[in-house]
Symmetry: C2
């Protein structure tokens, strides 16, 4: 049986203030006191996994063991079919940073360009299908864990469109949509996004009515 | 015999204030009154050429014919050996804009990423040699013209380094140098750059001592 969070303190296994803010606000209705591993002085573990699940668990477990509290971590990224799933777990590395705060910046445009260059190098007619994955992992100090995953399929456009969202949002159009994630209203994006789906599963299991 | 500019008005065949500023300051010592084709209300011609020389001449001739004054145009770009000379005359198009003003921005990082993605798609060991070309063309209303070209050879690095210069400067290291054009002091870059070389040739012929 999956362990459950009570009304207690939860460590968000991130060193990024923006990520802490986003996750804290998503969990605010459930009576949890959120703190970040970074603020608590815990060093960042190496993300040595080869999957989103592995990396999310590495981060959640490091924080849970280091602090003796349940910890939640997020690992997410873009996988492009024609590139064998790249950048995948290297999504943030390709942008030379771990997480993006605020407006889309030059690092992410560099990464979008790199993906596009690889696609165009394949040839003029190339399958542009891609997906965003988000894995949320919760680890408890006693070694238990739970994992929640969200996926949204879509395809890549070029050039980037829209200034909303972050990361690869300006080049990603979800299946059945016309706007990129960078053009969509936040509420519209959050209705279908990989992260929203993962959070919905987490909430359904961790905070049943 | 190459026609010569007198002490007269010269149209800079550009619609970009930054380019006008740079060229005007380079020509200031020679007593020319510089105006931009854009400011004078001339529409921008389509750059339909397949070489830097063709495109520089298209721009210079359109301005000289349209305004009845001698006109100077600049066409320049990065050519990567392993990409068959791309982006070449499409250098600015890949960045989705005609000219970059100020700090390196996201459009240029997108273009740098695209070049890098294409190189990496070739394989882990790839010839990273590249060159910057600059062509300055002067056209006179009577149909005469003169062309001055500068080239600097070098190689591409990844990730980008340095916030100076513009365009692809942060990924270009000139032969015999270690810093990128984005890291070099402006004076050091201008001692060897493609644009400086083209201007030196123009000045030597147009304004002999």
């Amino acid at each position: 049986m999956t362990p459950r969070l009570g009304f207690e303190r939860l460590v968000i296994a991130t060193h990024n203030a923006g990520k802490l803010r986003e996750i804290s606000s998503l969990l605010a209705p459930y009576g949890l006191e959120c703190m970040s591993a970074g603020e608590l002085g815990l060093p960042e573990p190496d993300e040595t996994g080869t999957t989103f699940v592995e990396n999310a668990l590495i981060k959640a477990r490091a924080a849970a063991e280091g602090l003796g509290l349940p910890a939640l971590a997020d690992d997410s990224g873009l996988s492009v079919d024609s590139l064998g799933g790249r950048p995948g777990v290297y999504t943030a590395d390709w942008a030379q940073r771990q997480w993006f705060e605020g407006e889309p910046g030059r690092d992410w445009y560099m990464a979008m360009g790199k993906v596009e260059g690889m696609l165009q190098a394949i040839g003029p007619v190339v399958d542009r299908a891609a997906q965003f994955n988000c894995v949320l992992a919760i680890a408890w100090p006693d070694g238990q864990s739970a994992v929640y995953e969200g996926v949204v399929r879509g395809s890549l456009v070029w050039p980037p469109r829209g200034d909303r969202g972050f990361g690869y949002d300006p080049v990603f159009v979800a299946e059945g949509k016309h706007e990129t994630f960078g053009e969509m209203e936040p509420d519209a994006k959050h209705a279908i996004s990989h992260r929203a789906q993962a959070f919905a599963k987490l909430v359904a299991e961790q905070f049943p009515r």
